[in-house]
């Protein structure tokens, strides 16, 4: 028995010693940085991080990139109040991460934050939550050459969009998919709902239900229409055949090879990826067509590439230093150009390539915040994505879709 006791003591000792030997931190500041950017932007962020490491040898940076696991990871981290020192907030700086973020309004760069985004990333108490490296302006990215070839004009209404799709389908003899969605990844389907919801239920003064959506009185039967039109697009064969299994990367490939004309809900970030496959691609960006008569097309905007600092970080100063490094003009320029959208701070002149023209053309178009972030309770995004897939797969009807939206909407509202 004695030997056994000795063995047990040894076991316990190993575990405890292990704790101190492996878990100890050195004197150096060690930053843990999490981001969920797409491949190209990620590369740029990592390159800038490398420069930062060189400039600050006493700060160690552990730079981590996550794909679709990012949100799950962050939720567990929030649940256990153990966040990375610096992290991307992917559109949720205020709505989800506010209570975990340090105030950045005292930073030297804070005064340069562009006016249009300042409100989006400032919470009720006036706290500046993140560094906005760029400004999201998202519509639908399309292939300008195909439009030129068939003599098509950019559609401004849903009816015009249907006509454009019909023209592309017939003129190409079915070879070119008018609208491409990487629905297998589910978020592009969510994109369809999110972007079009603004046109259906917000942007037209006669059909603006913002107040009802916020106070909970929205009549969800109205939501059938957006689903019915998704099925209409499918029925008319304007969507890619493999919409239920194609990934985002398949959309990139289809657009690059010219087998698809319009990227259903992809912003400028997709262009850099398309050009990696086809450098001669001529990209255009159109606003989301209006749905109601008399309304104008809209862009969707908000935060995109951001850095927030965890307020309870052991190394808040080092973290702020890291963020300030990204706020330097040349670095912001790199990030904004990688995503093909304007920089988030004043005084940065980015070369936005193909889109420079479009940004000028649509200068007066109205930019709305993401529908789900602004008007729905936190957690509805996934409901739109998954139910949208279900709808396209024939599992549910537009009415079921609306019912499911209503159910989850009420649950999430009450959970608050």
């Amino acid at each position: 028995m004695k030997k056994l006791n000795v063995a047990l003591v040894l076991l316990v000792a190993t575990v405890i010693c292990g704790t101190t030997a492996w878990g100890a931190d050195g004197a150096k500041a060690k930053l843990s940085v999490f981001n969920n950017q797409s491949q190209i932007a990620q590369g740029v962020l990592e390159a800038i991080t490398d420069d930062f490491r060189k400039a600050n040898p006493n700060i160690e940076v552990d730079f981590q990139s996550y794909g679709k696991d990012y949100e799950s990871m962050m939720k567990i981290k929030m649940a256990s109040n153990d966040l990375p020192d610096v992290f991307s907030t992917h559109g949720w700086a205020v709505a989800r991460y506010d209570e975990y973020l340090a105030d950045l309004s005292k930073e030297a760069w804070a005064s340069r934050v562009q006016g249009s985004i300042r409100d989006v990333i400032t919470d009720k108490s006036g706290k500046l939550c993140v560094l906005p490296m760029d400004l999201d302006i998202t519509g639908m990215t399309y292939n300008k050459d195909i439009f030129k070839q068939y003599g098509l004009k950019v559609p401004t209404t849903f009816k015009e969009l249907l006509a454009v799709c019909e023209a592309i389908k017939t003129k190409s003899g079915g070879k070119i998919t008018p609208l491409h969605y990487g629905g297998g990844d589910s978020w592009p389907i969510g994109g369809y709902y999110d972007f079009n919801s603004t046109a259906y239920y917000v942007s037209s003064p006669a059909h603006n239900y913002s107040a009802q959506l916020l106070d909970g009185s929205f009549d969800w039967t109205k939501y059938d229409e957006i689903s019915k039109n998704l099925l209409l697009l499918k029925e008319k064969q304007y969507l890619n055949k493999d919409i239920l299994t194609a990934k985002y990367t398949d959309s990139v490939e289809a657009l690059a090879k010219g087998t698809a004309a319009i990227g259903g809900c992809y912003g400028a970030y997709i262009i850099t990826e398309i050009k990696k496959i086809n450098p001669d691609f001529h990209a255009g960006m159109m606003p989301i067509p209006a749905y109601w008569d008399g309304d104008k097309p809209t862009f969707i905007g908000g935060e995109r590439t951001t850095w927030g600092v965890w307020k309870d970080s052991k190394y808040v100063d080092a973290a702020k230093k890291y963020v300030a490094f990204f706020a330097q003009t040349p670095n912001l320029k790199k990030v904004s150009e990688a995503n093909g959208i304007p920089a988030g701070l004043d005084g940065v002149v980015s070369n936005l390539g193909d889109l420079t023209e479009d940004y000028t053309t649509y200068k007066s178009a109205k930019i709305f915040p993401y529908f789900d972030r602004a008007l729905l309770p936190n957690g509805m995004w996934d409901v739109m994505c998954k139910n949208g897939q279900d709808l396209l797969a024939g599992g549910i009807t537009p009415k079921d879709f609306s019912d499911n939206m209503k159910k989850e909407y009420l649950r999430l509202r009450n959970a608050k």
Binding site: K3, T19, G23, Q64, I76, T249
Partner: protein, 270 residues
Amino acid sequence: MIKNILKASGLVVIGLLYTIPLYVLATMSVKASSLGTSLWAPPTALYLTNFRNAWTSAHLSRALVNNALITAISLVLIVFVGSLASYPLARRQTKLNGFVSALLVSCMVVPPLAVLVPLYKFIVDIHGMNTYWAIILILVTFQLPLCVYLYTNFIKTIPRELDEAARIDGCNSATLFFRIVFPLLKPITSSIVILCGILIWNDYQFSVFFLQKKDVQTIAVSLSQFVSQYQNDINLVAAGCLIGIFPMTAVYLGLQKYFIKGLADGAVKG
């Protein structure tokens, strides 16, 4: 004669069925791009850059060391704690021990996801994030039920007279266990090492949450991040996957006799 031909072709068909996925993976991994070519088409040239890129981008050298370290220490602990626990459970079949045994074995059916979030919170509280010891303790725990189950059943097949003879020679429980019983457990121990070794080596469900720093990440975690990052370059992804399965495959092919025998012993005795 016809029977033999049928048999031979049967063998070939089965063999092919099980090599095809690896063939496709291998051809994909040595092609520069798969645009326009069939996955079945043999490569026209060997494009080995994929392997080098995958090796560095997925941080596989570090991951390999981590995997080896985590698997080795976990296995030692599993064998030690598991065999130790099984001895009284097999030998002393009281009501209490029957209950303990059932309790331990029933853990086999606890879905890992059902405990993930509370477990995560707990690991953070005890400062176990991104440490080897935390993931090792968790992996050991979730393999223990199977291990105890196999050991208990195996010990039951060892004649009691052996213990009793040893006792008469003056051994106490611990000496008896380590000197007499444990050496007899060799066959089942090798089964357990192989079975649990595979599961721990390939673990993804736990590692992805508890190993969030590159320094400590294992192959499955590094690779899944790599795949989501380079999804549009399936040839590069294939190269990464191929490297990922290589170490285990090499060990398996080298020691296949023990693998199959070990598993068989575990299955039948269990």
